[in-house]
């Protein structure tokens, strides 16, 4: 029973990996608690957004992921 976390941009550096599995079900409080330290703090930053299965959450604090879901953690972008 697992959720896949995808770390983008500098969050991948902080996580030390581009993705990992985490137990389901998963809400925002549990996620921040599990990803402790600098990574957990970075996630709390208001510019970090969250997508579940490719759909952006309007508010990341309503996260409710279950088995098989893919949760992407998205820091501010920079392209071009």
């Amino acid at each position: 029973m697992a959720v896949t976390l995808i770390f983008l941009g500098r969050l991948a550096d902080l996580a030390g990996m581009p993705e990992r599995e985490i137990d389901s079900p998963l809400d925002w409080g549990t996620l921040v608690e599990e990803l402790e330290g600098e990574l957990g703090e970075a996630l709390e930053g208001e510019k970090v957004k969250v997508a579940v299965n490719g759909k952006l959450l309007a508010d990341k604090r309503i996260l409710a992921a279950s088995d098989g879901d893919e949760v992407a953690l998205l820091p501010p972008v920079s392209g071009g």
Partner: protein, 147 residues
């Protein structure tokens, strides 16, 4: 006609533009922009990361917004991802329209949004390792022009 692509490998902007022009014989004008990895001193490589489930749909939504705002015959958006060397093309935008202003505005609008409002993360490799790049203040100002 929309031609939206995320590319893992290098491409030739001149060739792509030639084909795009051929595909739009009815357009009176085509405005284009090619962005390349700059040869800034000390930069050895650039990496663009994306998250395809968001990045590609985001590019399509951007193209549709441009089509809704201007009268276009076609719009091409090609964006590289992965590791690139200085001078490699990163992005090509090309807007075909009956009238010149529509083509220019659509290309300009699309570039401003790709630059600071699309799902890409960019880092540079310098002698001392990789560094994440944030959009410049100017990029945010450019984007604000369209609101």
């Amino acid at each position: 006609m929309l031609d939206i692509q995320l590319l893992e490998k290098g491409f030739s902007p001149g060739k792509a533009l030639g084909l795009f022009a051929k595909a739009h014989p009815e357009a009176g004008g085509i405005a284009s922009f090619v962005g390349k990895v700059r040869m800034d001193e000390g930069v050895k490589a650039l990496e663009l990361t994306h998250y395809e489930p968001l990045t590609l749909p985001g590019m399509h939504a951007l193209a549709e917004e441009a089509q809704a705002r201007w009268n276009l015959d076609g719009l091409l958006i090609w964006h590289r991802v992965g590791v690139m060397r200085p001078q490699a093309p990163i992005v090509l935008v090309s807007a075909a329209a009956r009238h010149r202003r529509d083509a220019f505005q659509a290309a300009d609008f699309t570039m401003d949004h790709l630059k600071s409002d699309a799902w890409f993360w960019k880092r540079e490799r310098r002698a001392d390792g990789w560094h994440w790049i944030e959009p410049r203040e100017q990029d945010h100002d450019d984007l604000a022009r369209w609101r």
